[in-house]
Amino acid sequence: MSLRIVSAALLCLAVTGALAWAVLDRPLPEENLPERVAAAMPESGVDHPVTAVLLNFRSYDTLLEIAVLLLAVVVALALREAQPDRPEQMGLENPLLRAVMAWLLPLILIVAGFLLWAGSYQPGGAFQAGSVLAAAGVLLRLAGVTTAWLDNATLMRAGLALGLLTFLGVGLLVMIPGVPFLTYPLEYAGTLILLIELTLTLSIGLTLISLFRLTPPYADDPDEAREQQGKTP
């Protein structure tokens, strides 16, 4: 145990020291990427530079990143099926919470919509809006409100897939005139980015909710798992 801590401390010191030296000694770069971004902004279809980078200049990164999010859900789904769970008994039977929810929920949805719409000219966008949506979903669960469509597996999966499929579809469709993948035509760039962001928001929200919900519920515990293993060798 102590060996582990000593080696961790030594490694930590070595890495921190090396990093400190690297920070002290850094030469300034000659390439000026911010200038290139500024110069290309008129062709990006949006007014906010971060959105332009995320969904136009470096949209391929964003595409793969959505795949990473989806992967986490796939693994959660697979493990849930391999270790079947008892029905979830979440939700606090609290009338006050429900009453608060009733007026909080529309507010949250408005905030999410605003963040999404604002993303084209000021801070905000699909990820922020998606996580606000997810927060609404988590609150719904906590309040014990079971909405049928959240428990409908097919609909849920379709929602999860929608964002990535739209992104891929747009990326491939714009290639028809003979340009590379994800090259939006200038006059439609803003619309296409908004469409992608809209579907991404929904999918990201659903993904984050699923990640919250697909873990084993409190009702199951290790003792029980051990008993089950004892019964089925």
Binding site: R4, A8, L11, T16, V23, F57, L214, D223
Partner: protein, 98 residues
């Protein structure tokens, strides 16, 4: 010292601190906390150094947003595996290597 550089320095310290925690701790939840702290540290280094002496640069902003989403996906995946592992074994750490 610009304010960007200040945060780059705290990023360096956070990365080192997180690395120590990641290796020294055995409890998997603590190791995940350490992983997230290391992640924040490297994001701060990325932005802090890129903006030090050069002003706002939006490309690393987008990279960090991507990084945060990847980090939360990794953390969520790790928690799913961790909870299943805990459920199957009753342990919060990994068995030692043979």
């Amino acid at each position: 010292m610009s304010s960007a550089l200040v945060f780059a320095w705290s990023g360096v310290l956070l990365f080192g601190l997180g690395l120590f925690g990641f290796i020294a701790h055995r409890h998997l939840l603590r190791r995940l906390l350490a992983f997230n702290i290391m992640g924040s540290g490297s994001f701060l280094v990325l932005i802090g150094l890129a903006q030090d002496g050069r002003g706002v640069d939006h490309v690393p902003h987008a990279m960090v947003i991507t990084g945060i989403v990847v980090a939360v996906a990794s953390t969520a995946l790790a928690l799913v595996v961790f909870r299943r592992w805990y459920r199957a074994s009753g342990r919060t750490d990994l068995p030692e290597d043979t």
